[in-house]
Structure formats: structure tokens, C-alpha cells
Symmetry: C2
Subunit: 145 residues, 2 copies
DNA sequence: TTAATACCTAAAGCTAACTTTATGTCAAGA
DNA sequence: TCTTGACATAAAGTTAGCTTTAGGTATTAA
């Protein structure tokens, strides 16, 4: 059993954030001692790990809460929960694709400014047409557009 | 030259959002006609493409604005701009790594609920120890932890 | 000439996800 | 006994990034 301070260090989350998650209904099974102090068990830690993962993948608190609610309704919500994870999987895959497109653009810009820095100005590099670009840079340019 | 309505459709951004970007100083070189109507040229469109990319990669408006400011200061800010893109490149690479970790966790959960759905309950799948997991699933589990 | 449409501004409003503040309880050490 | 530190609550405040509202101008179509 862990106190809120210990969990705060464990997950690198401020104590008020943990209390906020609790208030929002993300930690349904969280117990208290006789004087009202929160006691986190391994189950709660697993839940927090999942919350961490879902948040990192961009899911909103209210949707995480909905999922947590389903969990507490037992076996009859298994399909719903599976569907949610399948959707979230697609979601993350799309995010990764989008980031990879952005990365191509940024890498092109890195090259661009590398050249400009060598020249001391942007004159030459600014007027290069896509066809004159080095092969690898051309690829970046195309991926970004 | 394009009107704000045309640009709105082109980028799939609401008109007020474009006006907001302008107000925030993200579209420094934006011209107006005699009656004050915004006229977007190809340069502005390039800027919007970059804004789109930087936003997609999680950069804040105020930082994009700072960068736009550097651009208007000419050659003496070339190194600064290069550094910004190098930092942003790392940033995106980290985001992708984080998303891949989250993806492993989510894929594990997909498998978990697939099994639970077959069984009609979570009993069996819940009590499987990491070592008993199928090889490919074990990998997901480990990547996620 | 009027009505619709597309533009304009300033300012207020909104939402998510915290974060801060003010106030209070409780247990342990000096 | 008193103070310190870790916990608690409710409620107000914060921030980013829009979005909506209210009111006005200018051009075109009937």
C-alpha cells in the first residue's frame, strides 16, 4: 500500500493531479484509511499505468473515465472495451504517420538552414527548384508535401 | 491571390482561426486590399503549410510566432532557426518513440480483450503470468513496461 | 433598391486539464 | 505541548487555442 506522496514520485505526477484524477472518477477502487487518507494498491498502480498510456496517446480524461466505468460493469462490457482499444490503436498509428510527415518537413528545413548557414544567407538555397535537390533531400521534400 | 474563404477551404481551417493566427502575428507579410480585405499569396500559403506542420508536431503558437519573427530579421537569425528545427526534430523523434511504447501497451490490451471475448470473461486471461504469454504478445507486454 | 453574401473588428465566451489557495486534520518528534 | 510535515477538502484561478457574438462594410444578383 502506498500514500499519495509515494505515488506522486513513482509516476512523476503532482499530488493535486492524482487527487484530480480521483475526483474525476479515474481511480474507482481507491481505498482510504480510517482518517480518510488514500491508500494506493497494485491494482490502482496498474490503472495509473494505463491512464498514463492512454493520456500519452491523446485520449481525453472523460473518455478514459468512460472506459474505467465499463471495467467496473464486468464481463458484459468486454466487447466494448476491445473495440475501444482497437480504435485507439488505429488512432495512434495515424498519429505516428502524421508525425512522420511532419518530421520529413522538419528534416528538409534542417538541411535548408544547414546550407543557408554555410552560405551565410538564404539566397542560393531559397531558389533551388525541387528537381535540383539532392536525392535524399528531394525525398524528404516530397514526403512533406 | 486568395481570399480568407478560399484559404479556409484549402487548409480545412475555420475562417476565425485564420484571423486568429493573423492577429497573433503568425502571418506577418499578409497584405490587404484597399477596403481592408486580406489577400493571401503563395508566400503566405507556404507559411501556413509550415504552421500546420509545426502545430501537428506539438509546437505552441507563441513559439511559432517567435520563429516567424526571426525569419523577418533576415540572415543574422539563420543559425537560431536551424537550431530550432534541430530541436524540433529531436522532439518529434521522442514523441514517436513515446507513441510506439503506448502502441505496444494498447496492442497488448487488444490481444487481452480478444482472448477475454473468446472466453466470455476475463478469468483465464487475467491470471496469465508474463512467462506464459505467447512470444509475440510477451514482446508487446515487455515493450509497454 | 433591396437582399444576400463575404468580408471586417473587438470583445466576450468556452473547454480541457490542471494548479493554486485557503483552510483544516492528524500523527510523530523535540 | 508545540511544531512540523503529510495528508485532506472546496473552490477559485490559469493557460492555450480557439470560437462565438454583436455590430459594421462592401460587392454583387434579382
Amino acid at each position: 500500500m502506498y500514500t499519495i506522496g509515494e505515488i506522486s514520485k513513482m509516476f512523476n505526477l503532482p499530488i493535486p493531479t492524482l487527487r484530480y484524477y480521483d475526483k474525476e472518477g479515474l481511480l474507482l477502487e481507491l481505498e482510504r484509511d480510517k482518517s480518510g487518507i488514500r491508500k494506493f494498491n497494485n491494482q490502482n498502480i496498474e490503472t495509473l499505468r494505463l491512464i498514463e498510456c492512454l493520456k500519452k496517446s491523446g485520449m481525453q480524461i472523460k473518455d478514459i473515465k468512460e472506459f474505467i466505468g465499463w471495467c467496473s460493469l464486468g464481463d458484459k462490457t468486454i466487447s466494448k472495451r476491445k473495440e475501444m482499444f482497437l480504435k485507439q490503436k488505429e488512432n495512434i498509428e495515424n498519429q505516428i504517420k502524421e508525425l512522420e510527415k511532419a518530421l520529413a518537413m522538419i528534416e528538409f528545413k534542417c538541411w535548408y538552414y544547414e546550407e543557408a548557414e554555410k552560405d551565410g544567407n538564404e539566397k542560393r538555397v531559397r531558389t533551388i527548384t525541387p528537381n535540383e535537390l539532392p536525392k535524399n533531400i528531394k525525398k524528404l521534400y516530397e514526403n512533406a508535401h
